[in-house]
């Protein structure tokens, strides 16, 4: 009589119904697991990058606050490295490290690195030690490359250099706004083809920080100015910055 009728509070469902239910659930399970795997397989792969989260090392060198905060550090074998400097969380150079332009300093920090772009997170205020004025031969070492006008995605360099992977596009836009608003140096991500890309750090004119609209984060902008190199970084002293309406260039 009640052959196929299911009643949830009974101990056992009718066996024919049990078989059907098992089959349906199995089919549904295979479908859903397969869809999840397929969506995962179609993701745009995240780009490489390093963030030594929770690892602190000691760094020492000359601090340059402008046009962008950097530590110029010479290793024991004589190689000079320019580290871009940011604070913990979604902030740029922390207050405790300001006002030491051109001085030697030492501090504990965490390394962030993507290719040749290296950055330090200053996350240990107590360790920050000014060591006095730098020797006179420690000039920032910037070389002018030329005037350029170039289009790319406005990114926050901290996330892009390795803290978040992925760190571009719409999904990351709010985070990039927060980081830029907190003073993380802005970068222009310029892609070439599918694989090659370069980040140009954006600075203001005459050593001043760039003033710009942080809500342009993750959108395409066009920057015009004088391109310089500082260590392995490219720095553009921006004379003009504008939103590019046509997303396809």
């Amino acid at each position: 009589m009640n052959d196929d009728f299911y009643i949830g509070y009974l101990e056992k469902a009718p066996s024919s119904l049990g078989r059907w239910t098992r089959r349906v659930v199995l089919a549904l399970g295979v479908l859903v697991v397969g869809l999840a795997a397929m969506l995962a397989a179609r993701q745009t792969p995240a780009e490489p990058g390093t963030f030594e989260f929770g690892i602190q090392r000691t760094f020492e060198g000359v601090l340059h606050e402008s046009p962008l905060p950097m530590l110029q550090s010479v290793s024991s074998n004589g190689v000079t490295t320019h580290y871009l400097l940011v604070g913990a969380g979604k902030y740029g150079l922390p207050a405790f490290a300001r006002g030491h332009d051109g001085q030697r300093v030492r501090f504990h920090g965490s390394l962030i690195q993507k290719g040749d772009n290296v950055m330090l997170e200053l996350n240990d205020e107590k360790s920050f030690t000014p060591l006095g004025p730098a020797a006179s031969d420690n000039a920032p070492g910037r070389e002018v490359i030329g005037e350029i006008s170039i289009t790319g995605e406005l990114v926050d360099t901290k996330c892009y250099f390795g803290v978040m992977r992925p760190a571009t596009g719409k999904i990351h836009r709010a985070c990039a706004v927060r980081c830029l608003s907190g003073g993380v140096p802005p970068g222009l991500l310029v892609r070439q083809g599918n694989d090659a890309s370069v980040v140009i750090l954006l600075a203001g004119l005459n050593g001043r920080p760039l003033s710009y609209e942080v809500e342009w984060a993750a959108r395409r902008v066009r920057a015009t100015g004088k391109l310089k190199s500082q260590g392995a970084h490219l720095v553009l002293e921006v004379a003009r910055l504008s939103l590019v309406d046509d997303e396809r260039d």
């Binding site: 596009g169 990351h172 809500e215």
Partner: protein, 354 residues
């Protein structure tokens, strides 16, 4: 109003349902994370968690939304419907994991409170009158997810029968129809969010197909009910309406008929036909799609019981369905179109078609 709750035990079926659910959710989550790691070797653990929980939650929501109409077409889907609230609560927790991690990852440790930032991070783009007009590629997508989460929370928090009683069935039902609002908000959340970043056509395809399946199933189920609602009313005599042939109501089974715009459940037990309201006192399930079990009308959704002759739940339960007077004449069932006062006994009408 009843003072008791049905103490439905954690029986074998229920345990197996929940175990199956946990295993399946874990498999979906793990398969997404595993394949992601193979595909995107540099992806961070936070991103894996944010995406894995989101994809699992959204897939589960599709299952939840599909079960209802499927069970109306084929009662064999009823076992899945039975504990659907467990699916709902599980889905809410997955969505919560996603929301918390996304809010912390993308909004915390900055110069604005994370909860405010979710709504205002790029507020300029709310202005659809700005140059360029409405641009989904730039319009904020996080607020749609946040709004969906609020709805899902309210539903999960009130899913217990305690709330069904205390909020009243009408309000409760309306609140739980919010699942469709949440689904709509999530479609927008994903369409304005992930779909603007991901380049593979698989994403819009899966989202669109999911919508077509869910909408299609609901439309088809609605058409089926509308057909029933439109079914021709037969002759009318002394307030009795001819609703169907007695042979269409099989022994031990129910059948839903229309009488003056209302759905009424007919049941046949021991050669007598009885009629009660079709709307279950529990969550409004279609009583007439149930069966008679151990002498009681049993709702197909969660198995609540009512006695055919007076519509009352067997003691100690106190729910009551309206009964309707019935006459079986020459193999035709005639139904009195107005319901009896609650608790009225009706002897039913003997069928002499044996």
């Amino acid at each position: 109003m009843s003072t008791t709750y049905r103490a439905i035990d954690w029986n074998r079926q229920k345990r197996r349902y929940d175990l199956t659910l946990v295993v399946l959710v874990a498999l979906v989550f793990l398969s997404f994370m595993g394949v992601s790691l193979l595909r995107s070797t540099h992806i961070t653990a936070e991103t894996l968690l944010i995406r894995g929980s989101a994809v699992t939650a959204l897939l589960l929501l599709h299952v939840i939304l599909a079960i209802g109409p499927l069970a109306r077409f084929d009662p064999r889907f009823l076992p899945l419907l039975y504990n659907r609230r467990h699916l709902g609560v599980t889905m809410f927790f997955l969505a919560l994991v996603h929301s918390v991690f996304a809010t912390v990852q993308f909004h915390a440790l900055g110069d604005e409170s994370p909860l405010v930032s979710v709504l205002t991070a790029y507020r300029q783009d709310y202005n659809v009158f700005a140059s360029g007009g409405f641009q989904p590629a730039h319009f904020p997508f996080e607020p749609f997810g946040a709004a969906a989460l609020v709805i899902l929370f309210l539903m999960a928090a009130t899913s217990h029968d305690f709330w069904l009683r205390n909020l009243g069935a009408g309000f409760w039902k309306a609140l739980h129809l919010g699942v469709y609002a949440a689904y709509g908000l999530l479609l927008v959340h994903v369409a304005f969010g992930a779909l603007q970043s991901e380049r593979s056509p698989a994403y819009p395809l899966v989202l669109g197909l999911g919508f077509v399946v869910i909408a299609g199933l609901h439309l088809a189920a609605a058409r089926k009910e509308a057909r029933l609602d439109r079914a021709e009313l037969g002759a009318e005599q002394d307030g009795f309406i001819s609703v169907c042939r007695a042979s269409e109501v099989r022994e031990g089974r129910g059948r839903v008929v229309m009488a003056r715009g209302q759905r009424v459940a007919l049941f046949r037990q021991q050669a007598r036909i009885f009629a009660t309201s079709n709307v279950c006192r529990h969550q409004g399930g279609p009583v007439g799609e149930g069966q008679i079990v151990d002498g009681c009308i049993t709702c197909p959704w969660h198995g609540w019981n009512y006695q055919p002759e007076d519509g009352c739940s067997p003691p100690p339960f106190q729910e009551v369905l309206e009964t309707y007077n019935i006459r079986v004449i020459a193999g035709h069932v005639w139904l009195k179109a107005t319901a009896n006062p609650l608790g009225t006994r009706c002897a039913g009408s003997l069928v002499d078609d044996r």
